[in-house]
């Protein structure tokens, strides 16, 4: 068990110094997001997550969500915490003011969401899924659907779910079989079974609004014949009150490696005559809508990698300060706290430096998303969107893969006690394991990166990014001191590595796609590590500027040291990964299937 304290200082630093909060506040519609208001929001969110959500993380994991009689009971305390969460307005943070939301920027939403996820990842999945539902209805719903659902979903009184997966349709949604039969009155009846439905049923809200992919009777086969429907748990009367129970039930929940408090449901539609739903948008356009929403969902899952890494770090750091074991390697009069041992320090800094790099990349991408949506200059919007599109698979996959590494280090620092559930370190590791899988596996993200994001535009967006990295490298090279020397050298090598690997992908994707695909995940990892290094370099420059201006806060020298460590220990992998991309295809493909 461990406490969670939001790393407000680093969050503020990244927001202000790297993610350009001042520029975001200047965008149309974000005038209220001034730095002092944001500071107050983050403070209070820090308190709420520390005092209300974090204490339920361990007990929620131990107890787990319970299923009986086609309904789910949440672990002790969740219902009350959710009520307080809604009452205090947190669910509505990024919602459209037209539907009662506060309309705050994505980048602020990202910071607050990181806190929810760090404090209690299982809990955080409920509002995350609701946000997905809100986005779908806001973008593609009819006026009637918006009027019926959005106010309650924005406030959080009603929650949302996404029903995509079926047992034969996982990564390949073309195989969806759930049927939707028009009733002639504008409604449809749905029949079929969906699996892996997060918060498909629970007892924290009055109503649950399911968004469901299904096929109409005349739909063409494959991806072009899938439509999106909205199916409420309780039908909504014309006056807005809740009506009859709809024919959609949770028929079981999964027993999982992690996120035990988050109910993962099997949902049965239409076992008793048909679940009543209405079409969202146009028939057969369902997958198109899903793709538009995917950026937000993938981003949010990426953030989970960072959030769990942060929680694991806080816990490991606490243990490393308290646990006394063995004398110092150079000799000491007695045993020392293990934080004194070189390898423990190395692991703590691997955790910390990667967390800080992930946070910077994540917030900078969220800030770009705000500009892509709101910037007054159309060309700037296009540039920002290109950066976002390139980086979304990196945020999803690099952050979650790194989150797995960081939470694993958290267990390692605890030694034997890390393997014991009572300590709580193992939970973060188990909870992190799903993040590289759901919402598109790492492999899927990497294919998206090399195909749609790099090869298709001939490396255009990638080269723009590399250009920005080179500018930062030049500024770093002008600084003095060992830390900046190491950063400049590492950044120089890393930029070369990305350039080599990127050129290889662009040149060979068309003619030898199988070879290139072997290097997809290594390339994604490479781009993640180097983007993180670029951010750590920018952070070091910003810290140096503060020091130069006479600021004596020890946060700044620590930031420079952490960036230096990242250059030495994390960016060192870049050139190896580039080799893996360029040379690794043949040996992976040569072996005949039968010889495996």
């Amino acid at each position: 068990m461990s406490d969670y304290n939001a790393p407000l200082k680093d969050m503020q630093f990244v927001l202000n110094e790297l993610a350009g909060l001042a520029q975001v506040s200047a965008l149309p519609g974000y005038a209220e997001a001034t730095p002092d208001v944001i500071e107050a929001i983050l403070e209070e969110s820090g308190k709420f997550t520390r005092d209300v959500l974090a204490p339920l993380n361990f007990s929620g994991d131990q107890e787990g969500a319970q299923w009986a009689d086609k309904s789910v009971t949440m672990p002790k305390g969740f219902k009350e915490a959710y009520a307080q969460f809604v009452e205090n307005g947190w669910n509505a943070l990024s919602g459209n003011p037209e539907f009662g939301g506060q309309g705050l920027p994505k980048v602020i939403s990202a910071v607050v969401q990181e806190m929810w996820q760090s404090a209690n990842m299982s809990f955080s999945l409920c509002p995350m899924l609701t946000m997905g539902g809100i986005e779908a209805l806001e973008l593609y719903g009819s006026e009637e659907q918006k009027a019926t659902y959005l106010h309650h979903m924005v406030s959080g009184r009603w929650t949302g779910t996404m029903n995509l997966t079926e047992s034969q349709a996982g990564s390949d949604l073309a195989a969806v079989r759930t049927r939707a039969v028009p009733q002639g009155d504008g409604t449809y009846k749905l029949f079929g079974q969906k699996i892996f439905i997060t918060y498909g049923d629970h007892d924290m809200a009055e109503n649950t609004i399911h968004l469901v992919l299904a096929r109409t009777p005349d739909a063409p086969a494959g991806v072009k014949g899938i439509s999106l429907f909205v199916v409420p748990k309780f039908l909504v009367n014309a006056d807005g009150t809740l009506g009859a129970r709809n024919d959609v039930y949770s028929v079981s929940i999964e027993h999982k490696l992690g996120i035990h408090a988050s109910p993962t449901c099997v949902m049965a539609y239409g076992d008793n005559g048909g679940a009543v739903g209405t079409l969202v948008g146009k028939e057969n356009d369902g997958l198109k809508y899903m793709f538009v929403m995917m950026n937000a969902a993938r981003y949010a899952v990426g953030l989970e990698g960072l959030a769990l890494g942060e929680r694991a770090y806080q816990q490991a750091l606490g243990f490393a300060r308290e646990r006394v074991q063995s004398r110092a390697i150079e000799g000491s009069t007695g045993s020392v706290p293990i934080i004194r041992h070189p390898d423990i320090r190395r692991m703590l800094l691997l955790m910390r430096s990667q967390n800080e790099a992930m946070r910077a990349v994540a917030y900078v991408v969220a800030s770009a998303l705000d500009s892509a949506l709101r910037h007054p200059d159309a060309d700037e919007r296009i540039r920002q969107q290109a950066f976002v599109d390139l980086m979304i698979p990196v945020v999803k996959a690099w952050l979650t893969e790194t989150g797995n590494e960081v939470t694993s280090l958290g267990v390692q620092i605890h030694g034997g006690m890390g393997f014991i559930e009572e300590t709580g370190a193992a939970q973060h590791f188990r909870d992190a394991r799903i993040t590289t899988i759901y919402e598109g596996t790492t492999g899927i993200q990497a294919l998206d990166l090399i195909g749609r994001k790099v090869a298709r535009d001939g490396g255009g967006a990638l080269n723009t990014l590399l250009g920005q990295m080179k500018e930062t490298q030049a500024s770093v090279a002008k600084q003095s001191g060992v830390s900046f020397k190491a950063l400049a050298a590492a950044l120089h090598e890393s930029i070369e590595a990305v350039t080599t690997a990127g050129d290889y992908i662009v040149a060979n994707y068309g003619k030898d796609v199988r070879n290139v695909a072997v290097g997809a995940v290594p390339f994604l990892r490479l781009l993640g590590i180097v983007s993180g290094g670029w951010m750590m370099a920018r952070a070091a420059l910003a810290a140096q500027a503060k020091i130069g201006a006479g600021d004596t806060d020890p946060f700044y020298p620590a930031k420079i040291n952490t960036a230096h460590f990242y250059a030495d220990h994390v960016m060192a992998a870049a050139s190896g990964l580039a080799k893996e991309v360029v040379q690794g295809g043949a040996s992976a493909l040569a072996l005949d299937d039968v010889l495996f």
């Binding site: 208001v37 929001i41 205090n88 943070l93 004596t552 806060d553």
Partner: protein
């Protein structure tokens, strides 16, 4: 009925306090500051009285540096209607604060002033009492329950005292200081945090209020408490009693 609630900006209760190297005080550089927890309880009580229809307005007051505005914004995010800052860089001692509050109260004419019983930085536990004396108002300190009877113009306060609890009836206007168990402060809601910025915040200087805030007490030296020395094991009860009598001198 109007309620005034003074709120003090203090070092956050989660922070480990460090003494400055030159022993002149506590190191506040780069340290997180927050509202004094007893004052949060005072704000909460005032808000509950407003929500119950007893009070019509809750005004938060802070005395000190410009950054105290943040503390006032916090109070307004919790629900206070407006804020007043008495701005000064001078080190404020309880008597000076009590005089400033008296001047504000003269302008505002509240029926009730609710203060934290003490601030967690200097633990003086004086401001409320001094203010009551300066105003000539009745006071009930260390409150664990507050019931206002507006019609009768009185407030009934249960106080935590050494032997248990004591109940007093005060004629309004009055001074109440809060103890820990009076209530559990709420969290600020997101809409209220956003609204807080738009609430009025007036700034005065001590001179404008006609108050001399020059310190009357001089701090000679601030040091860490002496580190606790290791304990000793005693062989038997007789030895323990001997030591308690002759070394610790805590029993006769």
């Amino acid at each position: 009925m109007k309620i005034l609630v003074p709120v003090k900006r203090v070092i956050d209760y989660n922070i480990k306090v460090r003494v400055k190297a030159d022993n002149t005080g506590v190191d506040l550089a780069n340290v997180k500051m927050a509202m004094n927890p007893f004052d949060e309880i005072a704000i909460e009580e005032a808000l509950r009285l407003k929500e119950a229809g007893v009070a019509s307005e809750v005004v938060a007051i802070s005395c000190g540096v410009t950054a105290c505005q943040e503390t006032l914004r916090t109070a307004m995010a919790l629900g206070a209607d407006r804020g007043i800052l008495v701005e000064t860089d001078v080190e404020l001692q309880p008597l000076a604060v009590a005089k400033l509050l008296k001047a504000i109260a003269f302008n505002e004419s509240p029926q009730l002033i609710i203060l934290g019983k003490q601030a967690i930085d200097d633990d003086a536990n004086q401001t409320g009492q001094m203010l009551a004396a300066l105003m000539g108002w009745p006071q009930a300190t260390f409150a664990s329950k507050v019931v206002v009877d507006a019609a009768a113009g009185s407030v009934t306060v249960t106080r935590e005292v050494d032997g248990g609890s004591e109940t007093l009836v005060l004629t309004l206007p009055a001074i109440v200081t809060t103890d820990l168990r009076l209530n559990e402060p709420r969290y600020a809601t997101l809409p209220n945090i956003m609204k807080a910025k738009k609430k009025p915040l007036d700034v005065f200087k001590p001179e404008a209020l006609g108050v001399d805030v020059t310190p009357r007490l001089t701090t000679l030296k601030v040091t860490d408490p002496a580190p606790r020395s290791a304990g000793v094991k005693v062989a038997n009860v007789a030895e323990l009693i001997h030591k308690l009598k002759n070394e610790a001198k805590v029993i006769a």
